[in-house]
């Protein structure tokens, strides 16, 4: 791991309560992908019940594919399905 590269993982809504934090920071490498961040969170916070296949991952407010390479200072969050009332 290159400790100079850090991403922020934000917990929104219910996730904040379940994770017990607003956000965490975690180091990444130059080859880290969205998939790695998701698996990291699934492993560390099983109570969030994120599904590795179906969870919607957003990086810097843009929907991200699993293969997307992460960059230093990216902000990652996991968005539930919302389709309005």
């Amino acid at each position: 791991m290159n400790e100079n590269m850090i991403v922020t993982i934000e917990f929104l809504g219910t996730q904040r309560i379940l994770a017990g934090a607003d956000s965490i920071e975690t180091p990444i490498t130059a080859r880290s992908r969205v998939r790695d961040a998701l698996e990291y969170v699934i492993d560390k916070y099983p109570q969030l019940k994120l599904d590795k296949d179906t969870a919607l991952v957003v990086v810097n407010q843009q929907l991200a594919l699993r293969d997307q390479i992460l960059k230093d200072s990216d902000t990652i969050s996991f968005v539930p399905f919302i389709s309005g009332g």
Binding site: D53, Q61, F81
Partner: protein, 719 residues
């Protein structure tokens, strides 16, 4: 209570979800009639919104206004309402000619009124005429009587309050005790003075041991009710709610209900968790994606937004561990509430009250006024409810005038005080003036569309300016379409949702198409063709929910895990399959998804015909304010300049950006305007309309709607 007219009747029993009876009450002539509906009526018009549309189409004309005696106030559940074995079946709709739009409006609302009306023997209730004095209607399925009675007088505070009056009436009619065998609708003092008065659905919550309220909030249904001098309608039935629909296949209903409840129980806690947080949870997600309507939709985010996030209400106001469904059998249970909330402002300051809410829309309305105080949200919620005012139109209208004041279109002399974004005291004052029809409230109570005209006249006269030019400027940020205020979502970055609002037949309320996340965040509608297809499909399926007596949230806000494997996850088809099973088990039909879409399209076209007849049906009426599609003013552009510049390159087809930010802003506006017109073209084509937004004759004929009135109307329209 003095009965002025009463009839005896024999309540029809429900079979397969229907009673096939319509209750008609004329408050002018005091006639009360029970009409047996033709056997094929339900096949063509389904229920709920469909019954209301048919009544309005046949019973009113292009000259009918909201306060015309012939205007009809329709309340109807639907064949799938009233089944505790299936979640979300307490819904009914209120439909009428709107004081806001001048055309058909319907608003769906939960509670017990719809189910009890059906148990009392009626699929729908249609009220016409104007009473000479204030009255209430009493429908008693137990006593087998229907009565018009003089509205009882208690004390001024109770008589004025939509909540207080209905609460007292429900108690008085049951020997001083609350009961879940009674439910009511009521309208309050605000509806006497504002065009956006609402109708409450009041029901007894056996867990909280008090009367609770849900709202048919949009479009001024309460204003119509009070224009008829009708203060409340109470319905009573002691018949068992369980198995109340007498379904054709009881086991099938149970199986469908069980399957949906399992999906909700499994998926909701890992998604929005509406069962714990209610719809306030949406605030955080809207803010995150620039959709929170801060300062009259200028900005989608604010550094102060977190003060209004769900956990604030959960920690400080909501009653915990309370299953808060608005009807039996709902395990989504999103109807959150708070007890013993101390009021610090207004005429009831010092009282402790129960608050039903806030919902997301209430929170959004308060942030729209630039206010980020959760205590004010609670008080605004309660006062709007007690006055019987729509929280959305009230908030958006005050926000519009705040912006008029800040941009110099209005002065403190015009209003009577300074009205700035974020000024709680001023917003609070304006709210009470609206409810009482006092001071500037007389203007604000008319809504944004009429407010624009008032401001334009005043400003143009004072500054010797062209009224048309002033109006054009005001229309950039006056957030209304067809006369109805927008609900609480910023649409600048979602073309599909711009259409979801602009093309919505009733005006910009999200219950016809809420595509903003599907489009902007999930990016499941990448092409114009995708967006146009969604703008046909979603309004149709949502129409079906409003015709059948069902809540949509279980389908739309809890995505079935199995949906991910389908071609179009946003349609949540695995969950819809449970609804179709439920429909077929209840009524004995064998309908497919396409069948119910076809049923809905008939209703959709009928609503479009009414809009055409009332002068709100063509392309011109589908145009949206500039702010709904782009940053209307330079300050909005500046707040996200980097993003907008990137958008111009990636989505706007601009290879070389203009040098100056003001030129880039201008170019952005041009691109967004172009995109919206292209979207209109694509959607009209998809729906079988002309480029002017008029249904083609063959489209109307295909659904059996080409009667004499429709044919004449289309002739006049040249279609």
């Amino acid at each position: 209570m003095e009965i002025v007219r009463q009839i005896k009747y024999k309540p029809a029993r429900v079979a397969g979800g229907y009673t096939d009876r319509l209750l008609k009450i004329d408050l002018g002539s005091r006639e009360i009639a029970v009409e047996k509906l033709a056997p094929d009526f339900k096949d063509k018009y389904t229920g709920g919104r469909g019954y209301a549309l048919k009544a309005i189409w046949d019973g009113t004309t292009g000259e009918t206004r909201y306060d015309s005696p012939e205007n009809i106030l329709v309340m109807a559940s639907g064949p799938l309402g009233n089944e505790p074995g299936f979640p979300g079946t307490g819904k009914f709709i209120v439909g009428t000619i709107s004081p806001m739009t001048g055309t058909f409006i319907d608003s769906n609302v939960g509670g017990h009124f719809g189910p009890l009306l059906k148990l009392a023997g009626f699929d729908a209730l249609a009220v016409t005429g104007i009473s000479e004095e204030e009255v209430v209607i009493l429908i008693d399925g137990d006593a087998r009587t229907i009565a018009i009675a003089e509205a009882p007088g208690y004390d001024e505070e109770t008589d004025d309050g939509a909540l207080s009056f209905g609460d007292r009436l429900l108690k008085d009619l049951n020997n001083g005790e609350y009961s879940d065998c009674l439910a009511a609708v009521s309208a309050g003092k605000g509806a006497l003075h504002a065009r956006y008065g609402l109708i409450h659905s009041l029901y007894y919550d056996i867990r909280r041991r008090r009367i609770r309220a849900k709202q048919a909030g949009r479009g001024g249904t309460g204003t119509v009710m009070r224009a008829k001098k009708l203060k409340s309608i109470v319905v009573r039935s002691s018949l068992s709610k369980a198995n109340g629909n007498k379904p054709v296949d009881k086991k099938g209903v149970r199986a469908a209900g069980r399957a949906l409840k399992q999906v909700i129980a499994k998926a909701d806690p890992t998604q929005l968790h509406l069962s714990a947080w209610g719809t306030t949870i949406l605030s955080e997600y809207m803010d995150k994606f620039h959709i929170f309507p801060v300062d009259n939709y200028q900005y989608g985010q604010s550094p102060d937004s977190a003060k209004l996030f769900a956990h604030v209400f959960l920690d400080n106001y909501f009653s915990h561990r309370m299953p808060d469904g608005c009807y039996y059998g709902c395990n989504l249970a999103c109807a959150k509430g708070a007890e013993n909330v101390g009021l610090t402002r207004g005429p009831a300051a010092g009282r402790k009250v129960s608050v039903d809410g806030p919902e997301y829309e209430t929170v959004g309305a308060v942030c729209c006024m630039g206010i980020f105080d959760p205590q004010f949200v609670m008080e605004y919620n309660w006062y709007c409810d007690e006055y019987g005012l729509d929280v959305i139109s009230t908030g958006v209208t005050i926000s519009f005038f705040m912006e008029c004041f800040e941009r110099g279109y209005l002065s403190a002399e015009d209003i009577g005080y300074e009205l700035n974004f974020g000024d709680i005291a001023a917003a609070d004052r304006c709210l009470h003036e609206i409810a009482g029809g006092r001071g500037f409230g007389k203007v604000a109570g008319q809504g944004v569309a009429r407010g624009k005209t008032w401001v334009a006249k005043k400003y143009a006269a004072r500054n010797k300016a062209s009224q048309d030019e002033v109006m054009a400027e005001l229309s950039k940020f006056g957030m209304e379409v067809k006369g109805l205020e927008f609900s609480m979502y910023v649409t600048k970055e979602s073309l599909a949702q711009q259409g979801g609002y602009g093309l919505a037949l009733k005006g910009p309320q999200h219950d016809e198409a809420w595509l903003i996340f599907i489009d902007q965040v999930y990016q499941e509608l990448p092409t114009l063709e995708d967006k146009a297809a969604a703008l046909k499909w979603f309004p149709l399926i949502r129409t079906w929910f409003n015709a059948t007596g069902l809540c949509k949230l279980h389908w739309i806000d809890v995505r079935n895990p199995e949906a991910v494997a389908t071609d179009e996850p946003s349609k949540n088809l695995p969950t819809l399959a449970h609804y179709i099973d439920y429909l077929n088990a209840t009524t004995g039909s064998r309908k497919s998804l396409q069948d119910i879409l076809d049923d809905s399209e008939r209703l959709y076209i009928l609503q479009k015909l009414i809009n055409l007849r009332q002068g709100k049906g063509t392309r011109e009426s589908d145009q949206i304010p500039l702010r709904a599609m782009a940053p209307a003013f330079f300050n909005e552009y500046q707040s996200r300049a980097e993003y907008y510049d990137l958008w111009l390159g990636q989505n706007g087809g601009v290879k070389k950006l203009p040098a100056s930010p003001r030129q880039r802003h201008k170019l952005l506006i041009e691109r967004r305007k172009r995109d919206y017109q292209q979207l209109c073209d694509a959607v009209y084509e998809k729906k079988g309309f002309t480029p002017e937004g008029i249904p083609r004759r063959e489209t109307v004929a295909r659904f059996g709607l080409l009667d004499k009135q429709a044919s004449r109307l289309l002739d006049e329209m040249g279609a």
